[in-house]
């Protein structure tokens, strides 16, 4: 047991602690420093902020830019778009708030050195679509990380944050976070006056289509381990829209982006016989969702639905007809850069399968579901809205503060504010950063205190998988089969199987119902118990163990929310077979949940949807 006794506990005190160095966290660090020149701002990241988060390998477009300087769009236009795409349900105050600030964010990115493509005729940013602009974005993350490093007092890379710490005296106030170094195994206790969570959403919660070596090529990064939710749920933060998982129609296997192909290059999708299939399913969609079928552009989930129906009707595979649109060298370069900037794996697929997009079409497929708050979906924490435009019941404190005092969020963490993408997540981080400064300024001397007993309890909990392995491995000769522990990968694959088969994954064509969800919950509860028996052979596996914990907490939340919402709001994302239609009479609401750590119970509620934009 020598390795345990040598483990050190390091204390890091700060005014503002930022967990997760992706776009949300980097935005928070930048803005907090702008307003608080002498504050101690600490950024902690499980990888290396130079290449971490969902934008680690770059992006080929910025998907949220208004273009107010050229009168291209107003923030309220973006609210209407996001609301339509999410079938009527977004926090309009939060979406509006991001949209009105986001142009300043993008202008700053350009000043910092991000190459943004220009329209040669107008001199404006080159539009991919109404909201998207094209960039040469291979170094998007290193550029943003440079700004964040200059803003933060200290950056801690390779620290896996496992739990939030609560105030000893006030049970609903955050006091910091704990985790461990994936490099030296020391425990870290971060004590802070305010905490901003900018961690990632969830890949690998549902079984992916590739289950061999290619399981890592999920659409969302495999390191997006649901810490955005897994940190918040156990401390009782109210969550919203956790059932609103997203399914992406993308190039098959590589999950390369389709936006530039559809919007900029004007390519189109057909079935295997060259027929455009979307109009064929319109009447059926209308019967399911009523007026929402008329929204333009057609909501993402409904487009998925058409594709799924076409495949079920035996007309697959679905193809993107790329060969008709690459008629110039410039267009060919745009098509390839789209992948090479952000999904190199797709270029690898094309090279390996001899697919030249100039010559032949390429298969499209719908992905396994993901849970996130920043893309065309809005799972996350229920947050207080902007002071000047949030309805009264959306305001209880500081902008982007969750229902836990002093706990803020940005990016995937915050629910209800869909269509943020990279620029919007950074902007939301900025909003949270400024709010956190205001919060600690108002706090005065009344600082949170951490309980030493709680730290000791967490220390034993965090490192238990190492101990489980150390003890259990002596029971067996060799190999991976032990009666006393399971590996993080074994646990992950059980989670993926449960979610896939019972909660609306690919194997049921995204279909679920009440009995399936209840059975899923039963199996999830046993998995949760088994997490006490995870065995980690080294610190890397210990990281995987805690990523799994965060995913399982999130999966339970997703399942409970899916059970609670008795309708099919987003056909193409998932279906409730027992409630197959959209139901605006009873369900034009947000779903809410709160976990009670004392009783272990989940409280489900309906939360009002206010339309503050016509």
């Amino acid at each position: 047991m020598g390795i345990f006794s040598s483990r050190k506990t390091k204390f890091v005190d700060s005014d503002i602690l930022i967990i997760g160095g992706g776009f949300g966290g980097c935005g928070a660090a930048y803005e907090a420093r702008y307003w608080a020149r002498n504050a101690k701002i600490v950024l902690v990241e499980k990888a290396n902020i130079e290449r971490s988060g969902a934008v680690a390998h770059g992006l080929s477009a910025i998907n949220c830019y208004m273009g107010m300087q050229w009168d291209e769009n107003r923030p309220e236009d973006h609210v209407r778009y996001a609301r339509g795409d999410l079938m009527g349900l977004v926090r309009e105050d939060l979406v509006f708030d991001i949209a009105r600030h986001v142009d300043a964010t993008v202008h700053k990115f350009e000043e910092w050195g991000l190459p943004i493509m220009k329209d040669q005729k107008t001199g404006r940013y080159m539009r991919e679509g109404r909201w998207q602009i094209m960039i040469h974005g291979e170094s998007y993350k290193p550029i943003i990380a440079e700004a964040a490093r200059k803003a933060a007092s200290e950056v801690y890379n390779r620290i896996m944050v496992t739990h939030l710490l609560m105030d000893k005296a006030r049970p609903n106030r955050v006091a910091g976070a704990v985790g461990f170094s994936v490099r030296d195994g020391n425990m870290y206790v971060f004590r802070a006056k305010a905490v901003i969570v900018g961690a990632g959403g969830a890949s690998h919660m549902f079984r992916p289509r590739a289950i061999g070596e290619g399981m890592g090529r999920t659409w969302y990064a495999p390191w997006s381990s649901a810490s955005a939710y897994g940190l918040l749920i156990p401390v009782g933060a109210k969550m919203t829209q956790m059932e609103n998982r997203i399914v992406l129609a993308r190039f098959k296997d590589g999950y390369g982006p389709v936006g530039a192909w559809f919007l900029l290059l004007k390519s189109h999708a057909t079935n295997a016989y060259g027929e455009k299939y979307e109009p064929r399913w319109f009447d059926e969609i209308k019967a399911m969702v009523g007026k929402y079928a008329e929204i333009t552009p057609m909501p993402t989930c409904l487009r998925n639905h058409s594709m799924l129906q076409e495949i079920k009707a035996g007309k697959g595979p679905i193809f993107m007809q790329t060969q008709h649109v690459l008629d110039t060298q410039e267009k060919e370069e745009i098509g390839w850069e789209d992948f090479l900037d952000m999904t190199i794996g797709q270029a690898v697929v094309w090279a390996s399968q001899n697919i030249d997009p100039k010559e032949k079409p390429s298969e499209l497929i719908t992905s396994e579901p993901y849970v996130m708050g920043s893309h065309a979906t809005c799972s996350g924490a229920w947050a207080s809205g902007p002071e000047d435009c949030a309805p009264k019941d959306y305001q209880w404190g500081y902008n982007r503060m969750t229902t836990v005092e002093g706990l803020f969020g940005a990016g995937d963490t915050i629910g209800g504010s869909a269509h943020k993408f990279s620029s919007g997540s950074f902007t939301e981080g900025k909003i949270a950063g400024k709010s956190a400064v205001k919060y600690i300024t108002d706090m005065g001397g009344n600082e949170p205190q951490v309980d030493e007993k709680e730290i000791n309890r967490l220390k034993a909990t965090i490192f238990k998988p190492l101990e489980n392995y150390d003890v259990g491995r002596n029971e067996i000769v060799a190999g991976t089969v032990s009666p006393s522990y399971i590996s993080p990968l074994q646990g992950l694959q059980r989670l993926e199987k449960i979610m896939d088969e019972y909660v609306g994954g690919i194997s049921t064509f995204y279909m679920t119902n009440e009995p399936m969800l209840n059975r899923g919950l039963e199996l999830l509860s046993m998995l949760k118990e088994d997490l006490d028996h995870l065995g980690a052979e080294d610190l890397h596996q210990l990281q995987r163990a805690w990523e799994l914990h965060h995913r399982v907490w999130t999966a339970e939340s997703v399942t409970r929310h899916t059970l609670f919402r008795q309708e099919t709001r987003w056909p193409g994302y998932y279906y409730r077979g027992d409630h197959p239609k959209l139901d605006d009479t009873d369900w034009h609401v947000f779903t809410g949940s709160q976990y009670d750590a004392k009783t272990g119970e989940w409280h489900m509620t309906k939360l009002p949807v206010h339309h503050i934009i016509d």
């Binding site: 009105r100 050195g113 090479l340 794996g345 690898v348």
Partner: protein, 149 residues
């Protein structure tokens, strides 16, 4: 694959270990060179490939859907501000592309502390750093009035 490392090129410097977002590039204890410990958690993000000073890391497409015989090689040159790609198909065709990555010198971003200290009262406003100038419109938009109540 995921990434793999050529034995004769790697010198064990550890830059790939330092950069990998998935924490899967580790140093082999026997050979003292890097290797991918968990190919099924590799996103083919190429962060390690780009960072390797010896060009020792390459990618072989995921075995469950990528036939052999291809390669996608990259050279990222920070000082030139560009990245170059060479894509070799299984059937031998080659495509080459070069794209810009940054328009300013590395390290040139100003810290938020380098700007004038904002007025203390502005902390109570909804304006963020550099606004409204950075918006390139005169004022920060406010909620438009609703037409119908």
């Amino acid at each position: 694959m995921p990434t793999f490392v050529y034995m004769t090129r790697c010198d064990g410097c550890g830059q790939c270990v330092d950069i990998c977002p998935s924490d899967i590039m580790h140093i082999d204890k026997t050979y003292r060179r890097a290797y991918n410990i968990e190919p099924n958690f590799c996103w083919e993000c190429y962060s390690c490939v780009k960072a390797c000073p010896q060009h020792a890391i390459d990618v072989r497409g995921y075995a469950d859907f990528a036939p052999l015989g291809h390669s996608v090689r990259v050279l990222r040159e920070e000082e030139k501000g560009s990245i170059s790609w060479k894509i070799k198909y299984r059937d031998g065709r080659v495509k080459e592309f070069t794209f810009p990555i940054r328009t300013t010198p590395w390290g040139s971003i100003q810290s938020p502390s380098d700007y004038a200290v904002p007025d203390a009262n502005a902390l109570g406003s909804v304006m963020l750093a550099h606004e409204p100038e950075a918006l390139k419109v005169k004022t920060l938009p406010t909620l438009p009035p609703k037409k119908k109540v």
